[in-house]
């Protein structure tokens, strides 16, 4: 469908108004919300993600595309709900106890939303028990833990232990990221995955959801 390609193109260029107009037009013409989401929006954001990975697009341009996607999703949401279509997955994230750094985590959250995931951000300095309670409330598929300091990275382990102690470990996958951590550290503390940057984080989330 020509309009779906048009929608993807406007999305890539970050033209929110045009994205909104084409979304409405497609709905009026009888396109299913699922088709608009998959073949227009997610197809467009896949190109955006790839261009960011190759350095063709800067973050502000990517975020402009993500904002345009939000505008479209707002229009689609009631239709998607009526059709029983769910998001690609619910991801919860937070910077662990004792750590005030959140720009990297925020970046990952925005990129994930742009890729069609539902994101619940618990903020920074998140106590282990808060992760536990939020899992019980929101039932996410994946939790992202962030830390920037050598003295807070061990609080990732504490958070994972609290989640396990509450009997919730098998219900969520855990992804970690931040300057001092590594794949080895992820393995050591029992996380499911490690991502070194926001683009990789989106890739890892997709892998974990598919697994």
């Amino acid at each position: 469908m020509k309009e779906l390609q048009e929608l993807a193109d406007h999305l890539i260029n970050g033209y929110a108004d045009r994205v909104a107009a084409v979304t409405q037009d497609l709905l009026n013409k009888g396109a299913t919300p699922q088709t608009i989401l998959n073949d227009g929006l997610i197809a467009g954001m896949t190109v955006v993600g790839e261009r960011m990975r190759t350095g063709e697009m800067y973050l502000p341009e990517v975020l402009q595309s993500a904002s345009a996607m939000h505008v479209s999703l707002k229009i689609l949401k009631p239709h998607l709900a009526k059709d029983g279509v769910e998001s690609r997955g619910k991801i919860m994230m937070g910077t662990v106890k004792g750590d005030m750094h959140d720009i990297g985590k925020n970046l990952v959250g925005i990129m994930l939303e742009g890729a069609g995931f539902e994101v619940i951000d618990l903020g920074l300095n998140v106590q282990p028990q808060k992760f536990v309670e939020a899992i019980q409330t929101h039932q996410p598929a994946i939790i992202g833990l962030s830390a920037m300091l050598t003295t807070t990275m061990l609080n990732m382990k504490t958070a994972i232990e609290a989640i396990a102690h509450a009997g919730l470990r098998s219900k969520v996958k855990i992804l970690i990221g931040g300057a001092p951590v590594s794949q080895k550290f992820a393995d050591d503390i029992g996380a499911d995955a490690y991502a070194r940057d926001a683009v990789k984080a989106v890739d890892k989330v997709k892998e974990l959801i598919a697994a």
Binding site: Y58, P60, E61, Q64, M100, L124, T151, L154
Partner: protein, 462 residues
Amino acid sequence: MTETQVRTHYTTLAIGKAEGLMFGRTPKPVSCGYGLELGSGMVYPEINFTLPMMMIDESTWPSVVAQYDEMGEMIGRTATRLHLRGVMIEFELLPPMTERPEWGAEITQVLDRHLKTMYENHGVAGALRVTPTDIRDATRPPPLRSGIEWETLMASFDECAKAGAHVLSIESVGGKEVNDEAMMYGDVEGVIFALGVLAPRDMEHLWTNIVSTCKRYGVVPGGDSACGFANTAMQLASQGMLPGVFAAMIRGASAVRSLVAYECGAFGPSKDCAYEGPILKAITGAPIAMEGKSASCAHFSPVGNVAAAMCDLWSNESVQNIRLLSGPAPEAFLELLTYDCRLFNAALSSGSEQTYQRMLVDSDVHHSPQALVLSPESTICIASAIVREQTPYRQTVAAGLEALRVIRDAVRDKTLPLAAKEHHWLDKTESALTALPAEEEGMMDSMIERYGHLFAPSSYGL
């Protein structure tokens, strides 16, 4: 402000010409600690270190103190081995050490004791810079002027000053909550609002209080750093996430909020991660700390050599106390800094400093717009643009525009290659800056509408 203190407004440059901006020399040297003279003809190393991977709590606290004791002892040993004439130690508190002021004070005492021993037994001049963590952004929007975080932060400064700190500094975060968002979205107006409207208001309130503490204890009020603003931009640009020209504009513009510390009574040395330091030095004449290639243990940067061109202290930013093949990492990096400083000082004593500085500058400025805006020539241009204006907002806009003009001139002269997409952002950023209202009142309503959910107006006296 305290009743007696009047905020200084700089209208001229303390160093008016690029040739006058030199490493190791400044019109307003600072004496601190145990006989350390900064900016009077020598460059000294500033060594900073942090803990290896470990928790900080009641049960580990004795081990934490032991780590700092070991690092302090090791610095004394290395300084003697390398015949160092002077050294600055920076103790950058980790969040729990600020949240419990007595903890920060305890380590301050430990490091002060090592510096004193070094001075008394071996004649090595030394000083201790103590930098509490700005813990005020633990909640969002950050309550900057009241509440437990504010009170604890002030108590931390007080306790550390009492415990033996010689210089107090901070990397403050006022305005960062807006800048983070605006920067990620490439919103020039939002960045200027954060840097030129919000941040200077917080800086005035914060630094008035820090200076007052310093006066009470006879401690040197060092300075602040736009690390959370301009260094974040620099890192994102280095990772290909932000345009380099946009990050360079932020660097220039960020100098204004850091200048406020001096307007309120700070007199240096500035913080090592404040790459806006040369601009501050040109305006105030105060000595500055800088970091570059020898701080790659902490982070990468496109400004490794040029950052050294005007420094008075040369720092490694931070290194974990881990074991390398040679020995403990802090010892290895103190040795590295020491050899860097020997070169600076040999150049100064032999009259070769202009040649050496030219090499430091020229080896970097053709590779990155971020390096270009740190050259002595760019520094004078940006500093001049700042002192020509009257308000922090207008100064911030002027500094940003001047940084872009410097870049545009270099591109025109073919001394700075720029990718096509950077050209697009150069034009776009310049247009956005030019279109800003003449006074901050003209942007207030739209900024509150766009970013009002992120900041508390009362934190900024608004």
